[in-house]
Symmetry: C3
Subunit: 306 residues, 3 copies
Amino acid sequence: MVKPYQHLLDTEFLSKEEMQSLLSRARFFEEHHEEGTNMFQNRFVANLFFEPSTRTRFSFEVAEKRLGLNVLNFSEEVSSTTKGETMYDTVKLLSSIGVETVVIRHRDEKLIAELAKQDTGCTFINAGAGSWAHPTQALLDLYTIQQQFGDEIRGLRVAIIGDLKHSRVVRSNIWSLQKFGAEVVVSGPPMMRDAEIEKQAPYVEFEEAIRSSDVVMLLRVQLERHEQNLFEGSEAYLQSYGMTQERFAQMKSHAILMHPAPMNRGVEIADEVVEHPRSKIFTQMYNGVWTRMAVLERAYVERGGH
Amino acid sequence: MVKPYQHLLDTEFLSKEEMQSLLSRARFFEEHHEEGTNMFQNRFVANLFFEPSTRTRFSFEVAEKRLGLNVLNFSEEVSSTTKGETMYDTVKLLSSIGVETVVIRHRDEKLIAELAKQDTGCTFINAGAGSWAHPTQALLDLYTIQQQFGDEIRGLRVAIIGDLKHSRVVRSNIWSLQKFGAEVVVSGPPMMRDAEIEKQAPYVEFEEAIRSSDVVMLLRVQLERHEQNLFEGSEAYLQSYGMTQERFAQMKSHAILMHPAPMNRGVEIADEVVEHPRSKIFTQMYNGVWTRMAVLERAYVERGGH
Amino acid sequence: MVKPYQHLLDTEFLSKEEMQSLLSRARFFEEHHEEGTNMFQNRFVANLFFEPSTRTRFSFEVAEKRLGLNVLNFSEEVSSTTKGETMYDTVKLLSSIGVETVVIRHRDEKLIAELAKQDTGCTFINAGAGSWAHPTQALLDLYTIQQQFGDEIRGLRVAIIGDLKHSRVVRSNIWSLQKFGAEVVVSGPPMMRDAEIEKQAPYVEFEEAIRSSDVVMLLRVQLERHEQNLFEGSEAYLQSYGMTQERFAQMKSHAILMHPAPMNRGVEIADEVVEHPRSKIFTQMYNGVWTRMAVLERAYVERGGH
């Protein structure tokens, strides 16, 4: 019997228990590097990246190949006018030729959720939906925080700092962290604030956010997306709102620094702190593989045997 | 002993017996999903797509990986001025590094046939030659028709309808269907007629073609290729020459609808009929994998052991 | 115990013994096609090609897959302004997600050497550094020469002829050939001479170089890179400085012709000589796979067990 498809659309739609179960499997894969291998041989996955992304695509591809999946890659930057209708046919084609799970990144925030409502035969994994959601990033962030502070992260203060308006990871992280009982606050430059996000997590003054948090999660600043040249160059941004060595020194002595990458060194983060022992940026990338293996495993297991 | 290479250039050069043999193997692969797997491990195939094609490339890639082949992908849109001479060197390179079969799509109609005449060491599979030929599409269409009507399709009337001038599947389908004894007719808008094609299969008035045929095969309309804006938008085309619900209702009660995809929904086909039970469009895509596995198997088996 | 990474930066940094050891392994792989297969299963390699290169990328990809490696491909032409800093983060990401060896081609001559100095966790293989170096080409050339003349190539005269200014293979070949005791001379049109290269190997008049050498190694002419239109078309170049049939006939009766490809037929080489029995151009491509397998094997073996 085939169970209903268990898409991964966003952390909003996962219970704490479901997330904990995924993280447990991620830990299993991390601790037994060879175990997953060949779990789903002769089965197919497609990576459809309609926005450029070397990092996330490679992380998924490693996870997929570790599970023994056959991988089809498609990368193309498309205009936002590409019709959902066309995507439906593309995805039905993939299903017809034997693809079971489709990993998608697309600038259209609603596209993946719309596809998931339809009878396409595919399980969807959201690898980045516009500026809206990036659930596997949130899961690997959660995994990284648990690795540091233990399974019970209730009461930890997590500050998400930076370009709140244009980041796809903020909402996904708020949903998952709050379900685990963390206190999430947001901060950043005034012109990058976002009223909708501040309904979910309170805005805290910048220096205060850094000093008071157990986890400081920086966001990539996308200066090119801002209408005005708000800062006179990246050095000005770093001094005003970046993670300088001075600010890093003000963090709690046990606090960790995170960043979803890619980083703008010298803009939102100073070179010197990127590889500090309490910076977990490359650890996050490492953890991404195990987390995505867990998400993929769930997709294939839920579909039933081959 | 190595047999001479058995390229797949077009259905024109395959006997009915050869095609039936390929379709039998396709059926075998469909009925035994796991059988082909790893048949040709440690051997290499290259997909050279000089025109964009997600669908056909993915269909071949799934077929190749199901057979255990190692796949090299190359996709690049090239100008028509790329010299055949250069292609010869490219293909000799591939042969030199161990590639045995090359799947090619190219806008130059004669390129693949010319390569096949030379001593390159490669077996060629035509994955689309300009507006001229697309033999694996014709084979999967034939497979789909046999699936519906039984092996003996003699006497069936198949109507190929639409943009006869710019379709690469018309000739390939006429060759294969006529060898199996089907009666092929063509139809479509007056400005899309093609005198050469009508020497091979008679033109029948549009509504008559729809009402009288056992198989209605629509072609993709490439409005952008037409010199004049012949219709005022796609809706006008659909009403005049598209497969509307009304026209679908006029088809024989057992007749099936086919389309090589990608479709222009709302142009040559109305949304509502795409997934009608007697529309075999997604079935064609499904069948493409097994058919291409058969074609690839033939290429490797004919080359002898590794 | 993990040994220090043994990058392949250039033949300049390999001793004769190291090179001979690589060539011995290449011969082993050539003689036992199936032996290498699956040697490094469940391990990952990334091909980062920042300059277009179908040939070299495919040659590496075949070598990698023959060794059982999981392959991640990235190809993108980038502007020269891409920061090394960014590359460091990219490569750290790759290391974090499990990539052990990175095969890079980049127009920045110094990039790979700079990356190799840093603590990235990756072993680097230079697949082409600007106009500076292309060590795997030099190794496969050396392999091809040994195949023809025996292991002891001391005293052979090798003439490297053509566009000395813009070729990435000249320096790499001079380093390796001189370490094996070959006498290397260079030649070519006056406007393509390079003073730095002529400090390493003497310039010899063109016709003299052809007549007196045991190995004639042609370089690709990149007419588009030259500031002036120095010749009136390719025919003029061929007649003045190309390998015509007449010049080929003047080579020693045992001398072989080589070219790193891609060739400009009718520019630096006449069609008629490309596949002459003493032209080893396609043999070089064939040998490239075994040589690159040896280089990759060294990278993985040196890193220790998985």
